[in-house]
Symmetry: D2
Subunit: 434 residues, 4 copies
């Protein structure tokens, strides 16, 4: 059997892949609340004979940041059950532990090859007009929730790949791990899975995304790089209220502390070693016009072209938050809300991946490299694998887009589904045997 | 009949006064939403034979600032009807025109004496424990609504005064006007009533408050002064969003504009002619950590010991808002949310009022003067009357307080109700005959 | 002999008083550099038989703030010697210890009465046209130095008083102390003299000023009050320079720290207990456009209607300086440059002084009280005397002014000289005998 | 004759080149004050038979920014005359028009090849110990003036090249232009020479620098690129002074305006298209602690990886200056102090230059490319030549440095002088014949 056979097999699964994608599109779930999605993934992986792990076995809760509130979590779990999730699975994932790893042993000794798929949605109201999901009946049924980034497609690709591999297990040596990661939005889920050791035994690792800046169908970018490292923060200032007319001097002004912090954060100097980004995206403070504000919250992010630059910015930012609090005699809590690292492609491995892809005959064109300039927590897996001596690449699966990612009208060319599953199967075969 | 007879008559109405106060306490209504309260006042004044005006006849809508939204107004009107308000009255007040003037002609020619009572509540959740309204069954039945300033008492005093005067009309010459003003909280209601000419024909004017810094029961302050002039503002900045990682330079940052405005407002220089106050009490901006914020809102107040100082501060503040917008290339809307003027007592008239009060034998002690250092839009009536050659005073009715004003456990000694009505009746008799 | 005889005696000394004033006007000296002025005062007091103390005996160097540099001091001492100062006296005063106390024992036992005169000039270029000193040949011969506040007159009054008293010693009981204080500008000299114990044995103390808001000749204000307490500061930020193009991230930006400090200082809240003032009056930072600035200096003052308010502001200001440094990761030195306290007149003593002045027949009018709203370190003497049980007053000697204080054309009606000396002699006689 | 003959000829001039360098090192002159330097250049070029133009013929005064004051200019001209400059030449250059162009016609028709040398010094006190110029007697004799960037070497190279070419004119076709540019420090001189049309007829253009990041002797970088575009600004704020204690509200605070501008400038967003830099390097404001500051000056620079980014930053910066003035009700003057553009090497031409250099046998190693990340106004010539269809390159002449540029101990390996002149002669021969 030739490598291009994978594509033929995949083609026969395209209809099922579309059905899966549309099911997940209908039930989008926010980061760390993907109980229904995860329950379905567990169910399907088990059906194909995968060994399935989830909950604390694959996510270290101590590495999770910005957890949803208990009320949110309970609401989401309840909704998932109402929408058909398996009660036992959901219970085991309680607390946002919605990651899953499916493992398939090949027919002989070999390498471990891992594939990672992210599964959460965006906090967006989906468009109701001039939009295929609405017209063809698979629009989101959850308010302010929409798969506007394509993670529904990622899940469908992952499950189609699972079936392809399970039905052709004899072509694999070694072991394949399918990693379904929650909470990519906000760059929060990968850290907990990496901390649980999910990537520690991986020889070859593949992450990827449909679309982004690879927007021509039937093309592939064999390696994306130039990811910006990022950390997301919130700073909560606690001061003391007083009547602004009768005793202004008795207040400790949290709002002013946050305003100073905001200006100082944006004035962190540029860095000669590479690009930086700083953005205070949220500011909420006070409540009553005639009271000195005793509470303020800012949420912001710093990004750097390298993780070293990002770490430098984090040091600056944390010092600024503390000093801004001192400036007004208030206190501050600093929380990390999410984190991603920089990653640059390994050109040699990328070349090998590209040639493998070309030889499979799936694509009209295979590009070697594409820069991202954005942030992704898949980088945590990629760096961990590299630290342990493995190799990895971040793939971009070309697909035409109806609107840009995170737009209420986001949609993509579904032919990418089977095609991508086929490519990943090719890579699984190739690298388990390496 | 002696002036002190008024107190005896009032005493016999104390129980009814308490019942009224507790009824209004049960149904607190926010500023410009006092439809049920106003409807009841209209009903009761009519019962006592007052000529009653309300709606546009006594409030100039063009002078109203920071109106509630149409949705809020409709919700409040509906609720008032459900709670027994008269549909015709409510309809005539639509749009926050919830002010009422009751007029009683005396038995002969004489002066016009006006009394003003404010009727709105605070946006506070009432305490449910260790608090008489909860224990004795007259707690607020509206969420985030509570008469925590004593305006329920003011309405009860006004209506008890109405009954006292109506039943003893022969003791009055000239004319008495009872002015029930909405929206004292936020200093918004008086401007519209003054603009409608309600104070233009008044020779003697009395406003007042229970408690404040007159916290000994059975005492009176015959004149309060040293009110701080105030203007309350909101500044809404409109910028342009962009992705903070991919195109930071394309955004127009409304949040940064508001942060600069905040620092510049607080740095407006002190004034050699008297005290000033500045407070940015609310700041809300942005929404997404990775987007340049396209919207920010700050709400703030400036206060001055004189209206001239306040006007100077307003000029500074408005320039600062506009310049802060320019600083970031964004636009800004500036809205006035409320306004009060400074007012100082007329010592001669205050002395006359004090002696009248003493001769009525109602109080254990009558104080001549008490400084306020706070803001009140009753000052707009007082200044208008003074401009037209009349005289006025702001009275403080002594009453022990359970907790300070605007506290969820605020409560007062209800003996102040009849007592205050008696004093106002004495003043009505005295000054209609002046 | 009647009290009014003092005026007659003084009149005969008016010409000499004018000559003295004009001599001191010609040789103005900056704060803590008054070597020539002080040497002349020592010489004249000795001539009249006073016991004279100066240098460390009357100034505690450890209480001196913002000393001039060694170079400045040496330059000033050298100039003073060239202009005729006594080398021994100058040497003893080295280091800015230019204060002098002259003591005269009266003829019998009695109280100790002290008078204080300030002796330094302003850093101003004197007007050369349309200005009497220029026209009549007694203009300043020192660049950027001018007696534009009238301290030349104060010295002339003090020395005329010395002569009056010395020539009429038999009319005094007890003891008279004439205190000549350096460095009133910048409110620096009094602290060191008070710390040296100069005021500790004083029963009655008189400070004062010509002009200010007592600008009618031949009048007196017997007590000035409502002085604003003040502290003057400098904050010097030390950061780290780096090339702004090649390594901006390596710098520690002292200029940005100072800019944040400036905004935060001006935004210190108003105080409900009384007036406040804040002013950052000097800001110098950096030097090279393409280097991250490693040094910044701000000089500022805080004032309060009471010393308690001032102390509160000092606490806020010092915290702000330290936190602003932290904000940029730089360090800061905080120095006090000067200090004055609030002082309010003792109405009873003021009344006694006023009647004594009236009975002396010197003035057309004696005012009881005049508010200052400005700052003076004479308050340190006044508070020290009051602490030890003594009494004191700050007098305003009425005199028409040609231009306001600190103006290059400042000049006054010299008739105030003999007149003031006469009044002080009257007070010396009256209170040594108290 | 072979190209490598140029090196032999140059070697014989090395001693003279060193003497020239040391003469210019002794008499360093600030930007736009290089009267002595320029007079000597004119004299020497004439001696070699060049047609020499200077003053308004080669500099458009209307394109000159941040001119020195008339007093400075007069002082510098006087000093130059005292140090032997030619009076007529100096007079013609009055007003900072100290640029010179020397033209040499080759023996036949051909291309025009231009070489540019910058001639100004730095405002630095030269080291007096452990420093060859001090030890060997050619240290700067001007206070706060030192050739610490190597422009003394550039002049010596230019004049040695002039002699080489003049003595071997027959080897040239076409025309050679030697451009001696004042005021490279502060990036000010090139604009005026470009505006005068000096580069309009140039076919091949060479700028360059000794050292920088080419610090190995006997090496060359054939093309430097990645220059940051830069604009340098000053903002002068004019407000209104008032007494900070007696009338703070009457002031218009220029210092606060500058502080806000500073924070807003540093907070200009990053740019996705390339690197940016912002630095407020100088801040001077106020003068008196107790006066509201009526004047403030900031000097700053913005840099961008491309000229487009720089222009975007300029737009932001200018708006910020104006808005910051409005924030405090003050006015602002905005002046450009200097400007440079981005420039990237033309790889094809660079390759040709590199091969020419290699074939001349002068260097141990010829590098193709070196990135600068700094700013230079030579870019204005390079861009102008490119706009008109010509080609150009910025060369780096390798030389060991004793200390980095702009350091008081800066010194270089003088063997670079003859070597560089030889290379430029090679290029002159090669490209006039192109």
């Amino acid at each position: 059997m030739k490598t291009s056979d994978w594509m033929k097999k995949a083609e026969s699964l395209q209809e099922d892949a579309v059905a899966l994608r549309r099911e997940f599109h209908r039930y989008p779930e926010w980061a760390l609340g993907e109980y229904r999605t995860a329950s379905r993934i567990v169910e399907i992986l088990r059906k194909y004979g995968f060994q399935v792990e989830y909950g604390p076995a694959v996510m270290d809760p101590s590495a999770l940041v910005s957890l949803p509130s208990r009320e949110q979590t309970e609401g989401w779990m309840k909704r998932a059950l109402e929408e058909g999730a398996d009660p036992e699975t959901v219970k085991a994932m309680q607390g946002g532990l919605t990651g899953i790893v499916g493992i398939l042993q090949g027919s002989g000794p070999g390498k471990t090859v891992a594939f990672r798929f992210d599964i959460d949605c965006n906090a967006i109201d989906e468009a109701t007009a001039d939009h295929r999901p609405a017209e063809e009946g698979f629009a989101s049924c959850h308010a302010r929730s929409m798969h506007a980034c394509g993670h529904d497609g990622h899940v469908a690709i992952g499950l189609t790949l699972a079936r392809l591999l399970a039905e052709n297990k004899d072509r694999l040596c070694g072991r394949v791990k399918l990693i379904f990661q929650p909470a990519e939005e906000g760059v929060r889920g990968a850290a907990a899975m990496v901390a649980a050791g999910v990537a520690d035994d991986v020889d070859f690792f593949f992450g990827g995304h449909i679309g982004i800046n690879q927007t021509e169908s039937h093309t592939l970018a064999a390696s994306a790089g130039d990811f910006l490292a990022v950390r997301k923060y919130e700073g909560i200032f606690h001061g003391k209220s007083s009547h602004a007319g009768l005793a202004p001097q008795e207040g400790r002004n949290a709002l002013l502390a946050a305003a100073h912090a905001t200006l100082a954060l944006h004035a962190i100097p540029r860095h000669a070693d590479g690009a930086t980004r700083i953005n205070v995206g949220v500011f909420t403070a006070g409540g009553s016009i005639n009271a000195v504000p005793d509470r303020a919250r800012i949420a912001f992010e710093v990004r750097g072209q390298t993780s070293e630059i990002k770490d430098h910015l984090c040091g600056e930012a944390e010092r600024i938050l503390r000093a801004s609090a001192d400036l007004q005699g208030v206190s501050v809590e600093i929380h990390t809300l999410g984190e991603g690292e920089s990653f640059d492609a390994d050109p040699e491995f990328a070349e090998d991946v590209a040639r493998t892809a070309e030889s499979a005959g799936i694509y009209r064109r295979v590009d070697r490299y594409r820069p991202m300039r954005a942030s992704e927590d898949c980088t945590l897996f990629l760096r961990r694998v590299a630290e342990r001596g493995g190799k990895g690449s971040y793939l971009l699966f070309g697909t035409e887009l109806k609107a840009v990612h995170h737009n209420p009208k986001f949609d993509f060319d579904e032919s990418v589904l089977a095609e991508s599953a086929a490519l990943l199967a090719v890579l699984a075969e190739r690298y388990t045997k390496e």
